[in-house]
Structures are given as C-alpha cells and as structure tokens.
Amino acid sequence: MSLSVTSPRPVDILRFNTCGSVDDGKSTLIGRLLYDSKSLMEDQIEALERSADITGGGQINLANLTDGLRAEREQGITIDVAYRYFATPRRKFIIADTPGHVQYTRNMVTGASSANLSIILVDARLGVIEQSRRHTAIAALLRIPHLVVAINKMDLVGWSEARFLEIRAQFEAFLPRLDIKDVKFIPLSALNGDNVVDPSPHTPWYAGPTLLAHLETVHIASDFNLTGFRLPVQWVNRPNNPTDAALHDFRGFSGQIAGGIVRTGQKLLSFPAGIVTTVKQIWTYDGVVEEAFCPQSITLVLEHDIDISRGSMLVALDHLPGSSSDLQAEVCWMHTRPLQVGKKYFLKHTTHTVQVVVTELIDKLNMSSLESEPAPAALTVNDIGEIKLRAARPLVFDGYSTNRLTGSFILIEPGTNATVAAGMLRAPYEVLKPETADYVI
C-alpha cells in the first residue's frame, strides 16, 4: 500500500485517541502509523537517531516521537496528552496520545472527549486487565461512536489466532454492559508494523482491514447533532458605528451552533428571557446565508430587541431542551482533592458559568466489575460516579446522550480555579413547558 502525506486536500477530519497501560506500546503504535504512512520528516528521523545513539543503545525508539517532554524521555513514560497530525489522501487525522497510568486517567478523558474513535491497546500476552476495562468504560461513558481494540505484541504470542479470539471473548464478556455500537478487533505488532499500515503476512486467519485502512474508511457521517437547533450565545456583536447607518443598528448574537440547523425566518425561543423571536438574518464574514448548521460559527440578527447576552441560549421550538436548577450527572473526578458534598463549585456549561452546590453523591463505578456501588464515601481523582447538583440559576440543557455539546459541563474549584471534574448531564426530568413558549412579544 502506498500512502503519503503528500496528497493535499483531505475531505474530512477523524479525531482519535489511543489508550492502554504503561508499556502497551501506544506511542510506538503512533510512531509506526506516522513512519509507515511516510508522515515523518527526515529531520524528525534524524532527531530520533540522535537520541537513539545517546539513550537507546543505537535502537530507534518510535515512542520518542510523541514523548516530547524531558521527564518523559528520562522516565520512558507519557505524562500528558500529546497531539499528532497526519493526512492521507482520504482523511486528515488528529491523534490524541493519552497516557495509561492510573493517575493520569483524567488525561484520557481530555484526549477522548472530542474523539470520533478510540483505540484501546491490549498486550496480547496479558489480555484484558483493569486498565482495558477502565478505558473502555470511559470511551463508552463519553459516547465515543467507534472503538478499535488493537491487540498488540501478537509477535510475542506466536501470532496465535486462538489467543486473539480468547482476548476478543474477554472483551465481549463485558461489552454488553456498556453502550458501544461499533467495535473492531485488530491483531497487530506496532513494533514491527504488522497490520498497522501494511497487512501482515503472519495473520492469514485475519480477513479484516489494517488499522490505517480502518481509520480511513470508518463511517463518521455526522457526529454532530443535526436535530434540535441550539445556539449558546458567546458574544454580542454590536459595531456601534456612528458613520455607517446599517452598522449603527446592527446587533448580532455570535456563537457556534451546538445542535441542529437554523434558517432565515425561523422562530426561535430565547433563554433565559423565555421569549419567541424570528431569525432576521444569518450573518457570516463570507456573506449572509439562508441556513447554517452544527458546528458552524455564525452571528444571528433577530427581529425583536430582547435581552440576550453571553450565556443565553437560542433554541428551536420543535425540539425544546430541558431547564432546571436541579441537575443529575455522571462525573469523572480529575483532581487530587476529592469531591465534597455540600461544597460550592463553578459549573461551566456551553458559554454559561454558574455557581453550583453538590447535594448528593449517588454512586461510584467500580472499574473492575463495572458495577455501580451505591452511596460511596467519596469521589476522588480518576473516579467516575453519579452526583446531584443544585445550580444558583437554571441551566438550559439536553441529556449528554442526546447532545454532547449541550449535555456536558466542567466543574471549577473556586480559589484555585482548577478544573476538577468533567460532567455528563442526565436527560432533563421535564422539557420546557409549552406555556413558556407561548410567551411571545
């Protein structure tokens, strides 16, 4: 197979992340993808060779490609999420290389949150371990649409089909408990390049695609929700130009569409004002357009002069979101200071930041059994659990399972300003009442 970064103009972007335990060979796999797809440049290979002479006993270490920080090279580990880019004639790829150490699970959530696809690496000698379950559970929780289980180091188990099937069965034993629709198992050796870019001569029993062939063809149609228009307002665009009459009265609401499609003339409901208005114009730098869709960034001009500012949300009348001060969510805790029931945090949801108090810790996910344990004593770093929150002002939101952008939030600790949790909202108990929608100018 001949691939190269040299063919310009890929048609779309696939974002994926890699996860596995220490020494599963994640960085080696990425290095191999870049190397075999000819996405590495000569000076990068030279730099690798230089560090091989110094630290690697002459052996090129593909992991040095992504392990960019001093401590990583010294300790031979990956500390933080590293992003890598390559392109083939079919697609542009954004890779988030996320570490596998227990204490760095928060980075996997970071790397995976925007991914279309997750690659879970498994050492063929070890099979499924707790880290594999944890990473798969996180991918399921984040609702990453596609999963690849890369069974690595197959050369060290004699390219045994029986071993491959055994590990697949280990996965299939717990996958039904997680909500994942698309899972692909690929036997490979990242170190030697088997089934990464080029098909392996060692796996005649495997009829499926190589890893890269799968990444190039997996169907990512729209990961964005095109049902139910949502525009979280980021910024009010007011030129206030005294000399240009057209601009003097211009008042637009700028934001990135978080769901659905909007058209000129469409009726929208604005929150928190609760007032129905009409789209007068969809303004973009490249000209006025008749319709726009998620995830485009636009500026809406409305028929009525109503109170809308950063943090307001404009929504379609036919698919109303929920609105409540009482929230229930699954959270991944990301900070060494544990979650405290009764403590106040800032919650950032879309473009809106509001104070919240944690009112209840409902349960915690046991990463070994993948069962929920009710009423845990605490939620500490890398724990995933279900909580209840009460917000100082009502949130306008969707369930995370309906819309990743209007159903997600982060918690920020006052004082330190640390991002302490990633949260996924449960579907609202009740959608906005139609009475509210009747409140028209």
Binding site: Y83, R84, W235, N241
Partner: protein, 300 residues
C-alpha cells in the same frame, strides 16, 4: 444530509472562531500576538471572521527583537492599518535600555531576551490573555500544550500541571497577576495554514516567495547575509534563489532554495517536503528540550 458537511479547513476554522470568541467572553483585556508571519496572518483573518462587522475588539501586540526581517515589519504595519487595528510594538532594544532584559556576555540571539520584553508588555497593558499562532505540529513540547495555556504570575508554563480540556469547554478563570496564552491554531498543520491562505486569498510577506538573496553556509543551513550575519572569510557565500519557510530572527532563519512564486507553488513544495519547517530554525535545534525550556520561562 450530505450537504451538511464541513471539510477539514472549515472544521478547523469554526473551532478557531469559537476559541477567539471564548477569549472575548472570558477575559477583560486580551491581545492578539501579530508578527506578520503566516500563522498570525491566519489568526487575523479568523479574528475578522469572529468579530466582524464590529471593529477588532482587541489590540495587536508584537515583540520586535530588533533582528526581524524588514519585510516582515513592513507587512505587519501595513496589515494593521488595513484592518483598522491598534498595533502595539515593544522592542527588545528598548527593554535592554531600560534594564528589563539583560543580555549575557557575548549573547547575540534575541530569542531569550524577547521573553522579559513580552512579560513587561503584558504587565504594562495589564493583558490577561494573549492569543498566539502557535501550532502543535511545530514542535514536540507544543504538541502537549492546551488551547488555553495557563501561565502563573511569572509567566511560566507548567507542563505537568495543565488544566484538563474537555469537549469545547475552556476554563479561563484567573487570579490576579496570572495570565492565559490561547492558541486557536493548535490543531492546524503547516499544510492547513497554506491551504487556508490560498482559500482566503490572504497576502503574505514577500520573503515567503522565491527571491534572490546572498546567503552564507553556516551550521548546515543557508543564512541570509546581513549586517548582523557577516560572513567569515572561511565561509561559503552564494547568491541563491531562496524563500523562507518559517520566519524567526534574521540571524537564525535558514533559507531554503526554492523556485516557489505562488501560494500554489508553496503548497506543492510542502507536500513533497521531507523536512519539517522547524528544521530550518537554529533556535530549536539547540537541544532536544530547547522549546520546552523557553516555554517554561514564559515564551509564547
């Protein structure tokens, strides 16, 4: 449904516009770092897309090392006027004169000295956020940096203690004296930048295109001969048709031999390139952790 599809540049564009607008929403006094280089030229177009028809709601800031290519500074000044933007320039020479930056004995490079100059400008104007054009594909330590990159009151980056960034929710909260660097082009590659320049028909400084220049062979590179880089008698000097691929200071930017006269030529050239753009920057070759060390000290 197929018509509701964004290609890769449109995806990168809407992501960057979203980040620009988040900066306006989350910070009191942001600035945009504009050097006149290709990446910051894209940033300015994205700022136009984010904020028009309003005036650009943030000033442009440039740290002039005194070793800039003159073509770059001319372009910078012209572009700022075209956009009706406020341009603030602070110079390393001035910072040295004021004792803000102190060169080591014999230190010629202005690379380290632009750090205190930038931090002094941030202090002077009380900027709480600077938008920069850095990309993660440029360099290994950049590959680890967030869109919203937190800096403590000394301007330092702590790579081991970065705020997690989840979905498109950026935590911009700061305590007094702290600062944020924001990089909307994080996910762009060199190829994406040139394709965007082509699609948007953006002007770039003439030195990106092929021109004749007297160069001296030094450290495996062709450096432009200038008052700052006089050739030594033993060195090879040639008049070559060259262009620059990445612009740093005139004393450390290698020229590449190239016939590329148009943006389309450049795209073809990059597509066939077998070295990275930073391969022509002597400042990054100093050591494997050169960029990491500079960033920890407050570099862009």
């Amino acid at each position: 449904m197929s018509s509701y599809h964004l290609d890769h540049l449109q995806h990168l564009e809407t992501e960057a516009i979203h980040i620009m607008r988040e900066v306006l929403g989350e910070f009191e006094r942001p600035a945009l770092l504009f050097s006149g280089g290709k990446d910051s030229i894209c940033l300015l177009r994205l700022a136009e897309k984010a904020f028009r028809p309003s005036e650009l709601p943030l000033p442009l800031l440039n740290v002039d090392t005194g070793h800039h290519f003159p073509e770059l500074n001319e372009f910078r000044d012209v572009r700022a006027v075209q956009l009706g933007a406020k341009l603030i320039v602070r110079t390393v020479d001035d910072a040295i004169a004021k004792g803000i930056a102190t060169p080591a004995p014999g230190e010629i490079s202005r690379n380290r000295l632009q750090i205190p100059t930038l931090l002094a400008a941030i202090e002077e104007f009380q900027f709480d956020c600077c938008i920069g054009g850095a990309r993660r594909d440029e360099e290994k330590s950049r590959a680890k940096e967030r869109f919203f990159s937190f800096r403590d009151s000394f301007g330092q980056w702590d790579p081991k203690n970065q705020r997690p960034e989840i979905w498109n929710l950026y935590n911009g909260r700061l305590n007094p004296g702290e600062n944020m660097r924001v990089f909307p082009l994080s996910n762009w590659t060199e190829m994406d930048v040139w394709e965007y320049i082509q699609r948007e028909r953006l002007e770039v400084p003439s030195i990106y295109f092929s021109h004749q220049r007297r160069c001296v062979r030094r450290g495996g590179q062709w450096l432009p001969v200038s008052a700052l880089v006089p050739p030594k008698p033993s060195e090879e000097v040639r008049d070559l048709m060259v262009r620059v691929r990445t612009i740093g200071d005139i004393i450390s930017t290698g020229c590449v031999e190239s016939p590329a006269e148009t943006v389309a030529d450049i795209i073809t050239e990059i597509a066939a390139a077998r070295v990275t753009e930073r391969g022509s920057r002597a400042d990054d070759k100093a050591s494997e952790a050169a960029m990491e060390d500079r960033k920890k000290a407050g570099y862009f």
